[in-house]
């Protein structure tokens, strides 16, 4: 907003009153915000505060939480296992982003085109979006079974859930299969919005397919890439049911992520205070990462990729 309102000022002294007038017309009353604010307050902000409080207590889920100060926090950072868990979480996040983003962009740009059979094939690609995570996990569990599934004939898949690298690969494959369609949809919509004149101009300049994709399509998709990446990264940090159902954090503890650790600590071990500490860390990490993305991508300025057209 700042950019749009300040830019004209030095050019010509526009009369102040009309601007304020425009201002009033464009901005609805703040009261419109109320339902959203109340909803956010009750279901997001308040629980967040309560979790922060619980992270300072010792609580089995029954009775009154006993206040123990920062004991849970010192215990958390003094625990080697938590670093393994954090490392696994970050590794999965990076792997998911690295595999899903290129796939989604390519599929999305392709699906935005006018080819024959495109509609039919896109519809097929979107099918995984209709399935629940639990159903998908059960499906992949059978698929990866070493004796009854694909591993029977395909050697590299045989013990895939039984090794650390294999289990991580399996999760990346399954999560990708599940979420690539969603991000493809984002890119498809964005690619459809790229004005045809840009491609016409590129054609005139003698650009080939590859150059058009690299110098026109990709820059035009910048904002979508940022949105999609934020969703993907924050989503990957909090994947729970996928991993819980597919590997249960195994083999051993090699695919145990922060959300799983949180669940095991609370509902299996009844250490709700310590689990709340993990939850708080997750909130802090996820928020920081999305803030960093927004900050360094210039997303906050909301610059349109269509400026000048």
């Amino acid at each position: 907003m700042a950019v749009l309102t300040e830019a004209p000022a030095p050019v010509r002294a526009a009369p102040a009153p009309p601007r304020r007038h425009t201002h009033r017309v464009n901005r609805p009353s703040s009261w419109y915000l109320l339902p959203a604010v109340v909803f956010f307050g009750v279901f997001a902000a308040l629980p967040l505060v309560l979790v922060l409080y619980l992270s300072l207590t010792d609580w089995t889920g029954v009775g009154t939480p006993a206040f123990i100060g920062i004991d849970n926090w010192t215990r958390l950072f003094g625990n080697d296992a938590i670093w393994d868990v954090t490392w696994t979480t970050l590794l999965l996040t990076v792997l998911c982003w690295v595999t899903q983003t290129p796939l989604s962009i390519l599929l999305g740009v392709w699906a935005a085109g006018p080819q024959r059979n495109r509609a039919v094939l896109s519809a097929l690609f979107f099918l995984p979006l209709l399935l629940s995570t639990a159903a998908i996990a059960m499906l992949f569990l059978r698929f990866f079974d070493p004796y009854l599934g694909v591993g029977r004939t395909l050697e590299p898949f045989r013990n895939i859930l039984g090794t650390t690298s294999g289990a991580i690969t399996a999760i990346v494959i399954m999560v990708g299969w599940q979420f690539v369609p969603f991000h493809t949809l984002l890119y498809q919509a964005a690619a459809r919005n790229i004005p045809k004149v840009l491609y016409d101009a590129a054609t005139v300049d003698g650009a080939g397919r590859w150059h058009m994709f690299w110098y026109v399509t990709l820059p035009q998709l910048k904002n979508t890439i940022i949105t999609s990446s934020t969703i993907m990264i924050v989503g990957s940090l909090t994947y729970f049911e996928t991993i819980f159902l597919l590997t249960n954090g195994g083999p051993g503890t090699s695919t145990r992520t922060l959300p799983l650790e949180m669940y095991f600590r609370s509902f299996r071990q009844y250490e709700f205070g310590y689990a709340s500490t993990i939850a708080s860390v997750l909130v802090i990490v996820a928020t920081s990462i999305s803030l960093i993305i927004v900050k360094f991508s210039g997303f906050a300025k909301m610059r349109s990729t269509l400026e000048g057209l």
Partner: protein, 434 residues
């Protein structure tokens, strides 16, 4: 946790997390007054086929009693959470279903439960109606807090008869014989033991039996009681070494860690003759009867866990899930009526027959003559004799220890099976959690 071991355990467990979270807010609904005013509640799991027996008991009791019993069924997966929350509130159940051991130890120690020892002492005839090993498995700090309420589920060594005859071997009597079979099976391209290693509780049956055979029941009793350095017992180290040896020999094939219990991966392997043996609870038999009836009828064999040379344990001792128990909460307004209910009904002919018909073998003495009432008399007799002859019946370790220690124990054990942890590491991981 008997029913949770059935398929879909983890899937429903996930739903359970949601249910558990929802329960906190509704501790007072439907369950009303904690049993005041001439009735008391009996909390059980919501299992249609199983509650037939519970209803038989309640109807019989209510006919002759002024204080009425009322059945309050809850879904399996939210049950322990619901119980946990209500035990901390003013709305405690009067009589409730539990797994003994770790599932009620904190309540017993917080003095929330009626100590049933004096009642048993006063009424020897009542006490003698239950199999002693099962009754004792429910003891906490040497006191009785539970009355056996339903079927027994010992861990049994299952084997495929066809595979055994192909290999030319007999069911193993000793650990050495077992190792010979393992080597022969491997040489014949057969996986010696089916194992759903993706779910570490299936691996727990191994240290449970081995520690008992090597060091006797005291070793784990000390652990469950929370005694200092209990995990450092040499029997633990020896058992873990034996397990590591078995894994390294290929005793479970090389892909066991990819097999999950859900989907019956392990059970299918032995039924199809790809694996020779399966060390699993008696529920494995029920599953095979349903899923692989042909195999269950012809080739399903079962035997005791072998002895270990030089071991201190009794070769007849067993491990598994002794039974489920009914406990009475101290706060109940009708403690006398509740205990009376357990006295009159838990070993009654009608109640026992209802269980036999449902496929369970209750922990009641003198059942030999009534085995023909069971769905499968042959198997019922095996389970019954096994428990009847057993000097001790060790409750599954994950149920016996404190909640906070069970998960670290399972984590450490699965790392032992994966070869990531040796005996010293296993002991240390458990000592750290204890």
């Amino acid at each position: 946790m008997v029913p949770q071991r059935l398929p879909r355990r983890s899937f429903l467990g996930l739903l359970g997390a949601g249910v558990g979270a929802g329960i906190v807010g509704c501790g007072t609904d439907a369950t009303s007054s904690g049993g005041g005013g001439g009735n008391f509640q009996v909390w059980v799991l919501q299992e249609e086929s199983q509650n037939v027996a519970h209803n038989v008991a309640i109807d019989a009791f209510n006919k002759s009693s002024d204080v009425k019993a009322r059945l309050v069924p809850s879904p399996n997966d939210g049950y322990t959470d619901k119980l946990h929350v209500s035990m901390g509130s003013a709305n405690k159940p009067d009589v409730f279903y539990n797994w003994g051991g770790g599932s009620i130890r904190t309540y017993a120690r917080d003095d929330l439960l009626v100590d049933l020892t004096p009642y048993f002492d006063k009424d020897k005839a009542w006490k003698d109606k239950f199999l002693p090993s099962v009754l004792d498995a429910g003891k906490i700090d040497d006191k009785y807090y539970g009355v056996p309420a339903r079927g027994m589920q010992p861990i049994i060594l299952f084997y495929n008869k066809a595979v055994f005859s192909d290999l030319g071997v007999e069911p193993p009597k000793t650990w050495t014989e077992l190792m010979t079979i393992v080597d022969k099976a491997k040489a014949g391209g057969i996986i010696p033991f089916a194992l759903a290693g993706g779910d570490p509780w299936t691996e727990l049956v191994w240290p449970e039996y081995l520690v008992d055979r090597v060091g006797g029941p005291e070793v784990f009793n000390n652990i469950a009681a929370g005694k200092k350095d209990a995990w450092k017992d040499p029997a633990i180290t020896k058992s873990v070494d034996m397990i590591r040896d078995l894994v390294q020999r290929g005793g479970f094939g090389d892909s066991f860690a990819s097999v999950r219990w859900d989907g019956a991966g392990a059970s299918t392997l032995i039924a199809q003759g790809k694996a020779a043996m399966h060390l699993m609870g008696s529920w494995e038999y029920t599953n095979q009867v349903t899923d692989q009836p042909e195999y269950a009828k012809t080739n399903l064999g079962f035997t005791d866990f072998p002895t270990v040379d030089g071991g201190k344990g009794d070769p007849k001792a067993i491990v598994g899930n002794p039974t489920n128990y009914f406990s009475v909460s101290k706060d109940s307004k009708n403690v006398d009526a509740a205990v009376d209910f357990l006295k009159k009904e838990m070993a009654s002919t009608a109640y026992v027959d209802a269980w036999l018909k449902a496929g369970d073998v209750p922990a009641v003495t003198g059942l030999d003559a009534r085995m023909d009432k069971a769905v499968d008399p042959k198997f019922a007799k095996l389970v019954y004799d096994m428990v009847n002859d057993a000097p001790t019946f060790q409750l599954s370790w994950d149920q016996a220890v404190e909640k906070a220690q069970a998960q670290p124990m399972l984590d450490a054990l699965s790392k032992v099976f994966l070869g990531q942890l040796d005996a010293a590491g296993f002991v240390k991981a458990n000592e750290d959690a204890a």
